[in-house]
């Protein structure tokens, strides 16, 4: 994916990135500097991801969004100045995103992602899709898979958040030692593979063998599927209205129909938690986890997450889950 041209960092760069170079090393910083990232969907989550990536010193960030910002955006989308509410979200975010780091190329594209041909994505090493519907995410994932581009889809709903990762085949280095004090630290190369989003969302939940693997972790995958279903039907995200709440409960029940999974694991109250718009601290948390994984995949260093990360609204913690078709 990322070609390893070892152009040396300038004095300005080493000074600016000193504290992170001391953490992940020069090689990682050089790889970051060659990485072009596409961020689709400039909501509160998208803004957090753009902020972190621009700060980290990637080569370029292109923000793609055809939507106009609305007043609610100001409770999480800090890249849009208050007096630019009503303007295109990507364009309105440009100036503040650029101010974060003049060394990174920051640009906006105001088209709808569905108008973009497959070739458009070829110019990126990583594509991050925020708050898109399932069909769009599956399309993007398939395009990225066919071109060896790392794909990440993420969303924040109230205190709930998800991240889906597909790196197809990812090779990375990891440091290890015998675990004894003073033992020599060595590096080894590992490879891991990811299933497509389409195959993951087509997993047959009625299969009792499949459902067993879902019993222990929190029911985040079911909440995500319910939210995707709502989005598919309503072409928008849920609000805190009673109608939306009832619709969500209905989709949950339909989803569980014929599935051997205890309904009480997905209590009604979960759908109150998710239907309050984007909560800024949750955008910050999920956005930071996404960004750190982008940095990880670009720098090819350390073990990446399995294919899902969820933020659990019941106890405000975050866990990784592997959901793969058998």
């Amino acid at each position: 994916m990322v070609e390893d041209t070892s152009t040396n960092l300038t004095e300005d760069e080493t000074e600016l990135y000193d504290r992170q170079i001391r953490l992940w090393g020069i090689e990682s910083q050089q790889r970051l500097r060659n990485a072009r990232v596409l961020v689709i969907g400039l909501d509160g989550l998208g803004a957090e991801i753009v902020k972190n990536l621009v700060l980290s010193g990637v080569k370029s960030v292109l923000m793609l969004d055809d939507k106009e910002s609305i007043p609610q955006d100001t409770s999480s989308q800090f890249l849009i100045p208050v007096d630019k509410v009503g303007q295109n979200r990507a364009e309105a975010s440009c100036q503040r995103a650029q101010n974060l780091n003049p060394l990174v190329s920051v640009q906006a594209d105001t088209h709808n992602v569905s108008e973009k041909s497959d070739d458009f994505f070829h110019d990126f090493e990583v594509v991050v899709s925020c708050s898109q519907d399932l069909a769009q995410n599956i399309r993007l994932d398939n395009i990225c898979r066919s071109r060896g581009i790392a794909f990440i889809a993420a969303g924040v709903y109230g205190t709930f958040g998800y991240i889906f990762y597909d790196y197809l085949e990812h090779t990375y280095s990891v440091e290890y030692s015998s675990g004894k004090k003073g033992a020599e630290v060595k590096t080894k190369i590992e490879t891991t593979s990811y299933p497509s989003m389409e195959s993951v969302f087509n997993i047959n939940l009625s299969d009792p063998e499949v459902i067993k693997s879902f019993i222990r972790p929190p029911p985040a995958f079911f909440i995500l599927k319910t939210l995707y279903k709502f989005r598919e039907e309503f072409k928008r995200d849920p609000t805190d209205s009673e109608e939306d709440f009832k619709a969500l409960l209905k989709y949950r029940d339909t989803l569980l129909d014929g599935v051997d999974y205890p309904k009480e694991n997905i209590p009604d109250v979960a759908f109150r938690c998710v239907a309050v718009g984007q909560l800024s601290p949750c955008c910050a948390i999920i956005g930071a986890v996404v960004s750190q994984e982008v940095i990880k995949v670009v720098s090819k260093k350390d073990e990446p997450h399995k294919n899902f990360f969820f933020f659990n609204p019941f106890n405000l913690s975050g866990f990784i889950q592997s959901i793969v078709p058998s």
């Binding site: 600016l16 953490l23 980290s56 290890y176 109250v269 910050a284 960004s291 997450h305």
Partner: protein, 630 residues
Amino acid sequence: MASKDTEVIFKVNNNMTNTSPLIFNSELKQVVNSSKVLVVGAGGIGCELLKNLVLTGFEDIEVIDLDTIDVSNLNRQFLFQKKHVGKSKAEVAKQSVLQFNPNAKIIAHHASVTSPDFGVGFIQKFNVVMNALDNRVARNHVNRLCLAAGVPLIESGTSGYSGQVELIVKKLTKCYECDPKANPKTFPGCTIRNTPSLLIHCIIWAKHLFNQLFGEHDPREEDFDVSPDPTDAESGGDPNPDVRRLSTREWAKTVGYDPQQLFVKLFEDDIQYLLTLKGLWEDRRPPTPLKWNEALETVDNVLQPDNQNMLKDQKIWNLSECVKMFQESLSGLKKALEENNNGLDWDKDDKSSMDFVASAANIRAHIFGIPVKSRFDIKSMAGNIIPAIATSNAVVAGLVVLNAINVLRGKLDQCESVYLRKAPNPRNILIVREKCLEQPNPKCCVCSEKPQVTIATDLMKMKLKDFESLVLKEKLNMIEPDVQRDSTGCVIISSEEGETDHNNDKTLKELGISDGTILLADDFVQNYQLKIIMAHRELGREDPPFFMAGDPSELKPQKEEVKSDDHPEKNGDDTDEVNIIDDDDELMIIEEEEEESRKRKNEDIVPVPVKKRRTEEMPNNFETNETIHI
């Protein structure tokens, strides 16, 4: 007012058995909107916190930070830009977040939180206090203020990829000082001056040398002495005890900071003298004095790191390059000193200052046969640099605000400590929340009902002024202590200026303190009273000037145990010694230790970042830890 609110929260909390998830509905928005919060620190976590707060709807915020903006902050402290370098962090952060929410009322204080302006009364104005600090002194201080004020405190920190958040509420949770903190590593003065065996010893020596030559006059200057110490118990006696040696500083001035003369004194004559202290070299490799001309021409082969893309600073200098750098940096520093009569502060980001320490440390290492390192690595060690990245700060600041919302809605029991890990734990949890609040330590020397500690020291030798600066201020973190003897009520230290100065040079013994004497120390600003039980102990060569324990019995046993590095809390800090913070090794939390170790047994290979130790320490000195001076 706020403290009453807290009591109400307590009652609500005690009746709560079921947890109820956080639903950010309009009622909760109202609660958030009407609360008053304090953010202490506007650095990496502070910037993220302030953004989250105003976006979430907090509109009544005060922020305190004494720091100014530096270029190396800009990779994560995103409220600042290059044009702000040198300006107040609190002030610029306020202006930046006001653009996110122009309705917010933000008061910025460009000041130290330990200033008496921010006493218990100030803290009581707030519904919740959030710490975003980078050093233990300030953390301890805010901890005490919040305990005294009865205001919930949310403490947080990050180091590299890791971070943590915890709630502190008096009587309900552990306070910041309930667990003994692993002390910064310290080294005895004689190791630094006479017998270095690690590069860090040479780096500390070089920093002391900088202070000697260029620093502001320090009342404790004698503690930063870099010349050989003939009083060392192992020296075997000074062969020329009558020779009066001129102090390094006076002498350097008389020779106009001439590099060659300085070199000859420091790296040839002083080393020759050290060799005459024969006792030191019985079991050690003796040092090799260097000659200026020879050193200048010694192009020794240095083993370079195996990295094609290395930075200029990562190349290791040979001896000749070290000497040239020593020479060059001295002329830079001499010039800087001429422009600044008060002396220079050592700053790792100042080129000449850093060049001087790196070259002097490496030359000394060469003399003692210690492996040298690059300027890049020495900068980390000399500057206590803790790597810091935007994403860890963002996760932690997000978790702080979620916990703050839970505090405000009265769900203190849902504010268990949370840890961000570099890699997920065996249960695949990356952001780990504890199962319950941690109970206070009943023997805590700060938050327990009747706090007390035992201090063991040589009562015949320790002077009162040292007791005040080393024990009360540095170790016990008091700001302006008053001390009286329990039995007599006699005031031996007063916070009123000048009142007890006549006692300063008396030993504790001379002030009537003997083994078993009880002292009552009181810090008015912190509203903190502490009973100190004094114990007499004779101290050895490698011992710190005193030992401290919460439980007197801990001090009784053998010296061996107390001296061991594994019990760092029992080692007192010492001005003659030096504080070094290890990198991020202090922090790592494994939620299920049992599972982890079981797993470990089956594997020869474990990933490096996994650390077994449960955290004993908040990530203090985290983030941009640039305040600790060694």
